[in-house]
Symmetry: C2
DNA sequence: CCGTAATTTGTAAGCGCTTACATCCGGTGT
DNA sequence: ACACCGGATGTAAGCGCTTACAAATTACGG
């Protein structure tokens, strides 16, 4: 690459562009040793005399040398990077999970590479392709749109951890969340408070989380002997906007209800706003329960009752499972049970 | 690395671990051409006969070949990656910015590598070191704790875009947000509604954003001839919790106020909760204004009046500026003006 | 039909790092 | 004193890719 070197030299002479970073070779020359010795000192791979070690460390400090991760990755055949695919990096839900992953991996010498799938299968495949091209050591997927078949296929190329799903296959570890139980807990809570007309705002229909939560909702109703009224179930989009629209539709439909179970917290936020718009008070007129227990839910007015699945712990656990897989072990990670966090958005129905 | 190859071969024979990914060489052999030809086809670097091209493309598809990004990076001396340092990836504020960056860069063939500085200078330096080691092509910093001096130093090694700050130096482009004007707008809005006792919940004191916003607040008061009462200014922490505490303190101090300007939306969320806890209604008893206009602010109950600086646009602009720098151009990006979004958390003070 | 220029292709030299293997050293045992 | 040994260093061969330069092929004009 003599041409490039020449270019760099030229640039350096005329502009303020950064110098080419120092290399092992430069450090070796500066310290008067061979590059192998420098490498060994940096990695602590072998015994080196104290004298040379000092010299090399001085040279490293002097040149401000930092090993080139790409070169090392090439030589080692691993990148010390874990790819992470979520649907949207700016969602408060995924944000907490990413934080958990990042914290966990960072402390163990790995770097997380985040990408957003945008709820789109094609985008998700693009992300996979990119991560594979970067030769990440493993990929963590937060409940994506990819089918099990495709995941199994990718798992042939790289270890996979899939959160929020249950899926058995070679080289894949899945970390399912007990959506059904969470939804059951939430619905039962409303029932115990005395509610009988409980509406449910679902997410996108074919989304696995949504259907499991729907199942839990129905089971709780059935357990209490309350007939399920399909008119009280309306679709949403997992976002605030969907919560607003769904609630408006519900309110407009004339079907009475005194409580509202939302497929996730963001939907619940929207629902609360819609109630407010219609002059209804939560929880006096309508009780609302969410799912996920986002950090900001405890700061809502009123603080939101929600099902906690600690997405942050989910993130950490995913990281832990991945590292175990990389170690060649079968991960033995499991998630804490979902639990209902009762706050102030739920109350007994007004008796009239 | 014959040892590694041997290892791989052994593993492959006995376990389900992934095969070593195909290489250029394997594609070349499969297609019966030289590796140079394959490379040229992949990159479109030179004319190649249609015949060979087809053969190579077939081989690529057959082997499911994906170029190794690390190897390419090494050879090219660039990684097509932009490092991004924020304080916390799970903050709704930064989340929106990251999304902007990711969207922008992705469409242009770059990948963003996110890291969290955790509001800690040391962590931030660790992030810089990691990014530099990965030889990212540039680094975008969201208003970090690093001093200008240090930034200028890093800028010698890699192009920098710094958002939310004003800073002139070689190889650094800064994208300042007009915090002062935003704060002025917010405070003036409260004044125009008729408020005279306006409290301010500041962020962390030495944080530049906080002090600029404080400045805008005082200037608006001064412009209206309202004396500044230091007792109405209390520190916060940019989070909900700080907002709760600060408001409680304010309420407990006995100093009357009818409006509250919070250094950011999260603080305002906390403030609203504290008011609610004390049985006070927003906006009837106390008006509240935030800053940042987070997405969820429009879904609060009541929807929060806030200063919009579109952090998402900030992200996109940072990406655009970075790409321009990489092109060797002087970026000509600027941000849209901050604007006040009036919603329902502010109203005229109750007359008593 | 041949020489020569204009392609298309292949060969091989790196990019910066790790590590197997060779080399060199001082210290032992006899 | 000498063969021998173990540990500290150095040498050099890759890791998978790009690309300068050489070689081979093709297309022309005379």
């Amino acid at each position: 690459m003599s041409k490039r070197a020449a270019n760099n030299a030229k640039k350096r002479a005329t502009t303020a562009l950064p110098d080419a970073p120092p290399t092992l070779e430069m450090v070796a020359k500066e310290a008067g040793v061979s590059i192998a010795t420098v490498s060994r000192i940096i990695n602590g791979t072998a015994k080196v005399s104290a004298e040379r070690k000092d010299a090399v460390e001085a040279a490293i400090a002097k040149l401000n040398f930092r090993p080139n991760a790409a070169a090392r990755g090439l030589a080692l055949g691993k990148s010390n990077t874990i790819g992470v695919i979520t649907q949207a990096i700016d969602s408060p839900f995924y944000g907490e999970g990413l934080r958990g992953i990042e914290d966990y991996l960072q402390q163990r010498g790995y770097t997380a590479l985040f990408m957003s799938g945008n709820w789109d299968e094609q985008d998700e495949e693009r992300c996979m392709a990119e991560l594979l091209s970067r030769r990440v050591d493993g990929i963590i997927i937060f409940s994506g749109r990819l089918e099990d078949r495709q995941l199994a296929h990718y798992a042939k190329q790289v270890p996979l951890v899939v959160s929020g799903r249950s899926l058995k296959a070679q080289n894949i570890f899945s970390l399912p969340v007990d959506d059904e139980r969470g939804a059951w807990l939430a619905t039962r809570h409303l029932i115990e408070l005395g509610h009988r007309r409980i509406a449910f705002i679902a997410g996108i229909l074919d989304h696995p989380d949504a259907s499991l939560r729907f199942k839990g909702y129905r089971r709780a109703l059935a357990d209490a002997g309350i007939p399920h009224d399909p008119k009280l179930v309306v679709p949403g989009d997992f976002h605030e906007e969907g919560g607003v629209e769904a609630t408006m539709r519900l309110l407009g439909s004339g079907n009475k209800f005194s409580a509202l179970f939302c497929v996730n917290d963001q939907t619940a936020y929207g629902a609360c706003l819609a109630l407010y718009r219609r002059g209804l008070n939560c929880p006096r007129d309508v009780s609302v329960v969410g799912f996920d227990d986002l950090h900001s839910s405890s700061y809502r007015v009123p603080p939101l009752t929600s099902v906690r699945q600690s997405i942050r712990v989910l993130g950490e656990s995913s990281g832990a499972a991945m590292l175990q897989m990389l170690q060649g072990e079968q991960p033995d990670i499991s998630l804490p049970q979902v639990e209902l966090i009762v706050r102030e958005s739920t109350a007994a129905p007004a008796k009239e």
